[in-house]
Amino acid sequence: MKSKADAVIIGGGVHGCSIAYHMAKKGWKNVVLLEKGTLACGATGRSVAGIRHQFGTEINIRLANESVRRMERLEEELEYDGSIELMQKGYLMLAYSEDELDLFTCNRDLQKQIDPGNLTEILTPEQAEELVPGLNLEGLCGASFNHRDGHASPFHVTQAYANAATRLGVDIRTGVEVERVKKEGDRISGVVITGGEEINSPVVVAAAGAYTKNFGEQVGLDIPVIPERHQVAVTEPLEMILGIMVISFAHGAYFKQTPHGSLLLGVGDPEHEVKDFVERSSWQFLYDVVKKTTFHWPALREANIIRQWAGLYDMTPDSQGIVGKTSVEGFYLDLGWSGHGFQLAPAVGQVMAEIVSGEPPFIDISCMCLERFERGELIPEPACV
């Protein structure tokens, strides 16, 4: 069986759905989004969904500024009939060495240079403790804080984009896996889905996280991305005791409280974590995460842990996204966000829609192209776990 589309988007995470919405809004007709599971069932839904201005590279700061602004009025923009559970009480980054504090200070300066209205401030350990009563000050040199940062529900943000895209005519198909991306000569010609059905399309946008590597290989592109497992544990719902998201890059640990009351505790452990498509959680993690997060905030010792899960970062050599067109005409990429992609989806969705439409994107994202790896022009992001 064969069918035709003007564009096919692979991946129903927050990026795929944001691209679908922005393309439809630009007037694209006959756009099909294919998701092998359910919406947000991959990296998007496993993320703790932090949203922050506090990045250390110009491109991420620009994307983040725009994305936070959009998240603030997303329910209105997308006419969502639910809540995206946005909570903006701030994001506290703990520094455990003078070098780390210097880095945060440099990052803040860059953030203010790009947007003079940026609210990031450098705090003393005592000021940090005022924000998080009971914070352990042992070894703490200072912190970076921005009270307009926060977090949201990855499921509802994705659903909000998907609903809006559907209303604008995008055909979102869940439970449909792309087996193969097809190429004719130097250009993309469509996809083959499980069962052999072909969807012919001059445009294919791959937003499938680490799974995108396979699609690249099928059309002769080497996409340097690997899956890396990251895990999260969650406590029972508690009274609102922590408005702020807290993170320590030095320990790879972070925690936040959702508006619903449960606390999410995470640890990134690139040295020991499985680098494969494994989404099972481990006991070792449960011990590590409790040990690390109770070090930062001893009050957590009394909390009941009720569940844990795992998800996949899509890691690239410089921990930055791979975005834009490729040497295969009609084949576009949006992946490799290495753990900070959720929050950037509002801006990147529009950027992608513009690139696919042949227009210059409203944020110049050319430094994130696939070719940067061949050219050795990496853009390492210093502020990520």
Binding site: T38, P237, W283, L286, Y287, R301, A303, N304, I306, Q308
Partner: protein, 93 residues
């Protein structure tokens, strides 16, 4: 009765809440769980999982066996963080 029959005790979800989701087109228990938190509470779905599956099955015309089961997540029962740190047997603390 629909309005006040509790399906998920931990997250305070009623039969009406679940039916509203099904009416919106969500015919996969995983989707309903993720958007409503049905089954994500301290009891880990020990009561509501089956009730949710029954509702979805009835609405979609599928048998429960054909539906995608929501994931059972460790540690199954709530454990105090400090108990994890201390190790030992479960009755010691």
């Amino acid at each position: 009765m629909e309005d006040n029959t509790i399906i998920c005790r931990c997250e305070d979800l009623t039969l009406a809440d679940i039916r509203a989701m099904i009416k919106k087109g969500f015919h996969n228990p995983q989707e309903i769980k993720r958007l409503t938190r049905c089954g994500m509470g301290p009891c880990q779905g020990s009561t509501c999982r089956e009730l949710l599956l029954k509702e979805v099955a009835a609405a979609s015309g599928k048998s429960i066996g054909e539906l995608e089961m929501t994931t059972f997540r460790p540690p199954t029962k709530p454990i105090k963080a400090k108990s994890i740190l201390m190790g030992g047997d479960h009755d010691e603390i």
